[in-house]
Amino acid sequence: MPSSTAAKSETPIVSMEHIYKIFNPGSVNEVVLFQDFNLQIARGSFVSVVGSNGSGKTTMLNLLCGSLSPDEGKIFVQGKDITKLREYERSRFLGRVFQDPASGTCPQLTILENMALADQKQGHYRLRPGVNRKRAAFYQEQLSLLHLGLEDKLEVSVGSLSGGQRQALALLIATMTPIDLLILDEHTAALDPRSSETVMELTQRIVQEKQITTLMVTHNLKFAIGFGDRLLMMHRGHVVLDAADAQKDALDVKDLTDRFNEISIEDGN
């Protein structure tokens, strides 16, 4: 809720402070990933994150969403400490779209039922009829944002949609109720090139229309360059490149691949 905008613009919407995370501590497989990792995300920004496998991108998202907890450090959303909250409790103010299009929707239920469930996220799930017909017009209006013709297929079960359609629907469902942060976890990686372009355009449109702060992890350097106003490159649990606004606009795909290669050489690969 925007109360005092002047003060709010200074506090970041998300803040990860002094995060430590070690996997399999004390064993031969010990991986020290985060050592004093810090990240602040400003309200209204669209941050793209790139990095090779094992760089800590996904772990960072999992720490944010609560599917992993840090060994040390704190995570704040809107200035509130959420480090101890469980994953499902954080879902009330975080929206997440996964790489797997099957994750963000329920295949057995119809589009209408999926949207009705998502619509109820902030309220309670009671013994009232699951689908409120009066809201159908609103759902259709939301679906028409996707330009996929899904607004005429409310009664179709989601399981019969294509991966791209499901991902578009998942995106809509994740952003249907007001959220503080939208987390995109390589959400176009499992789609064919054409579908991933479409979903990326949709993402841009929805994020702009609803003015949602967004954190996107991607392997697609073109998307990372082309979308958003801030770009992070991660390597071994550190941010090795953090470019925003004009500095980011100056970057191109070649700059990123060069940087990637430098890192790989440092690693001796």
């Binding site: 469980r86 994953e87 499902y88 409790e89 879902s91 009330r92 929206g95 997440r96 996964f98 099957a102 994750s103 963000g104 929707t105 329920c106 295949p107 057995q108 239920l109 039922e113 009705a116 469930l117 998502a118 109820q120 996220k121 902030q122 309670h124 799930y125 009671r126 013994l127 009232r128 009829p129 699951g130 689908v131 996929l148 013709g149 297929k153 179709v156 079960s157 019969s160 949609l161 294509s162 791209g164 359609q165 578009a168 994740a174 054409r194 579908s195 479409t198």
Partner: protein, 301 residues
Amino acid sequence: MNLLQIVLREGFIYGIMAIGVYITYKVLDFPDLTVDGSFPLGMCTAAALINVGVNPWIACLASFAAGAAAGCVTGLLHVKLHITDLLSGILVMTALYSVNLMITGKKAILTFLNLPTIFSSGLGGLLQTGLGKWSGLVMALIVCVVVKILVDLFLKTQSGLLLRASGSNPQFVISLGRDPGNMKILGLMFGNGLTALSGCVMAQQKESADVTAGTGMVVMALAAVIIGTAIFGRIRFMKPTLAVVIGMILYRACLTIAMQIGLDTNYLKLLMSIIFVIALVATRVNPGRRKHNAVINRSKI
């Protein structure tokens, strides 16, 4: 004719259990073995209560509650203590054997002959005077239909939709800000409550409760669910709850026919398993589950 009446009556009574197992096995995707214990739990609860003069309909509610409590324990073992789904069910099923003996006062069989049951008093009594030997069938039908309608209505409510979602995609439930573990416990309570209710109605029909009656109930209920959803699952207007009840009637019919052509009753459980295996394999050969992909224009995206 007499045989048909028995098949239908038992089909409807066990059908209540089939609906319960449909919820755990199909909706929740949880292979719940508690059923072998919660069915006799319902029987014993009914027998004990009716013996002390409790109204038979209240006894039905109490049986449902007892079954729900058993399901809750299975759910807690699985969700909170992280014991595997199969093992949680086996543990509770085994424990229930002792619980059932406690309820019956250490008797393996507890009778309540000539005491008022839902079949002999109230509405059941009226049916008995009007319909004679068919009254049992009609009463079983009424209870089964009421349960079916209530379950259908529940599955369309907000919590019903959430329950269905938690079976097919727990991650989705998490992203809706809800704990899928709690939904699992709720579903298990519901499924086992219905199983116990089925046992309760069966006990009232037989006017006795048998502590060992649970053996093979999982197999029977799962067979009904698999047969029902495989044969009738593709028919659009037929709800799965109806399909599993018909599945149960077909399964009971197979068993009754086998007994009629002279199979020794001692081989009943063997036959139950064999029919189950046949149903399982036959439905695997025929994987044509609902396919309406053609409805959607895939080229659009």
